[in-house]
Amino acid sequence: MKFLVCISQVPDTTTKITFIEGKALNAAGVQFIINPYDEIALTRALELKEALGGTVTVIHVGTVGTEPTIRKALAIGADEAIRINAEPEDAFFVASQIAEVVKKNPFDVILTGRESIDYNSGQVAGMLAEMLDLPSVCVVTKIDISGTEVTLEREIDGGKEVVSCSLPFVASAQKGLSEPRIPNMRGIMSARTKPLQITEPSSGTKLTASVSYAMPPAKQACKMVAADKMNELVELLHQEAKVI
């Protein structure tokens, strides 16, 4: 079975985000990592491959500076990687690029994270599925494959929905789908020699652009309430904040 996992590179979760004159992310001192949800997708793909046989390919749209992140995915256990040499500025563009690769080289299972933790959009899974005319299930916490039957669990408001699906399909990973693995020394060593194919982008349309950035509005100073005055807190929440 052929698994494809789409990975993006994002600032580490502990990063303090600032912008350069409201026009771009200030990347100075920022450590970049594999998007955590993509890593969850990758680990589940590896688990399924170990159970069912096959190969796990990771695909990434990014420029040469992102290769350490791709090598990390190979160190975790992916068999091979494809890098499409372009800035991932727009989800439609990214999905189109990946779709072009998959049209020439089909996969049975295509996974993404539920969203990247930089732009928090979660668009690529649905777009890719539409471009490839495949079924899609997003924000899933379970993927089981038995023969040609696929069973997934997706998050819904106040619960989970069990969904059955045919192969091939696209799904996006939510926390709980798998436990990420820490690469071991053997993985790190072998990652250096695993195939990393670089392809140039096909001419693609961009439909959106982030034109400016801002920090969230600053909070007013915190009003302190004495620990033995909880009646006062309740009154403040009722009278002043008007939330209860």
Binding site: T13, L25, G126, T141, P216, N231, V234
Partner: protein, 325 residues
């Protein structure tokens, strides 16, 4: 030209996020001097569909088909796209709920329309069409310009107020082109988290962290939540060590929420946690450490031992409820 809004229902009922989306769509229709059409897929009563007129929908297209009573993303995406074409819609609005997350990308790709997923405000301009959303999991905001003729906006629940007035929408049956191949997924079972308020749609949330010292101490958190009619949540470390289920974890890699009130008990306020709750309208922090970073993001703070403060807060809420009813 028009604005179309996918009016989501759950077992035949609309929720607040649906009314927010219709209100939002109608405000955009006003910006563009056009009208709003709502699309309903499934079995909703005629009365409920007509009532979408209160939020600005002039017309409701209704797709009734027993195969579509549960989500099939491919079919739903196609239907929304087809309805958008039929109505010559330039803007397509959906809620960024779990259903929305399943269909937004599909609709956008099908229409080759730019998508802003997680819009938090009305377009700040319509030429160029510019919409604000959060980025870096709430650590920043970004203005996104959509350059395509058609635009898809997925509105963050709880970010836009419901605007209601008078009005009744007209109803029109809509029979979309539906192929068997659009239904490659089917719902086998729904597992409801029993009797609890869903975290993503809760207006009040009571959350606790490692300061509670052990899973056996969550009784008072649940009691406070029940009293307030709030959902319960937790921090990442607490979910990771198994004190609380993962679906309660709010934060950068958990659920992002924006309730009216977020009460954080025994949570220090790491940057990843703040990212998930920063859009809460009011934040109360209860922590024994006066230096806890969470106080910097709080509206109200209480320095004290949770095991003393929370029982007092429970009593105060009880007193409040008796005196106000």
């Amino acid at each position: 030209m028009s604005v179309i809004v996918f009016a989501e229902n759950w077992d035949g009922k609309f929720k607040k996020s649906t009314f927010e989306a219709v209100s939002y769509a109608n405000e955009i229709a006003k910006q563009l001097s056009t009208s709003t059409t709502a699309l309903v897929i499934g079995n909703v009563s005629e009365e409920d569909m007509k009532s979408l007129g209160k939020y600005g929908a002039g017309k409701v297209l209704n797709v009734k088909n027993d195969r579509l009573n549960t989500l099939a993303a491919q079919a739903y995406g196609n239907i929304v796209a087809e309805a958008a074409q039929k109505e010559v819609a330039t803007v397509i609005v959906i809620s960024n709920t779990y259903t929305g997350k399943n269909i937004a990308g599909r609709i956008a790709a099908r229409l080759k329309a730019g998508l802003v997923a997680g819009a938090t405000a009305l377009p700040s301009a319509t030429a160029p069409f510019t919409v604000r959303k959060k980025c870096f999991s709430g650590k920043g905001l970004t203005d996104v310009v959509i350059t395509s003729d058609q635009k898809v906006l997925a509105l963050t629940p709880n970010a836009f107020r419901v605007i209601s007035g008078e009005g009744t929408a007209s109803l029109e049956a809509f029979v979309p082109a539906l192929k068997d191949s659009d239904l490659k997924t089917s719902v086998k079972e729904v597992k409801k988290t029993s009797g609890k308020i869903a975290l993503t749609e809760a207006e009040l949330v009571v959350s606790a962290g490692r300061g509670l010292k052990g899973p056996e101490n969550w009784g008072m958190i649940e009691e406070l939540a029940n009293l307030l009619g709030a959902a319960t949540a937790c921090s990442k470390p607490v979910a990771d060590i198994g004190w609380r289920p993962h679906h309660e974890h709010v934060g950068q890699t958990g659920i992002t929420i924006g309730p009216n009130l977020y009460i954080a008990i025994g949570i220090s306020g790491a940057i990843q946690h703040l990212a998930g709750v920063s859009s809460s309208k009011v934040i109360v922090v209860i922590n024994s450490d006066p230096e806890a970073p969470f106080f910097k993001a709080a509206d109200y703070g209480v320095v004290g031992d949770a095991f003393e403060v929370v029982p007092r807060l429970i009593e105060a809420v009880k007193t409040f409820k008796t005196s106000h009813h």
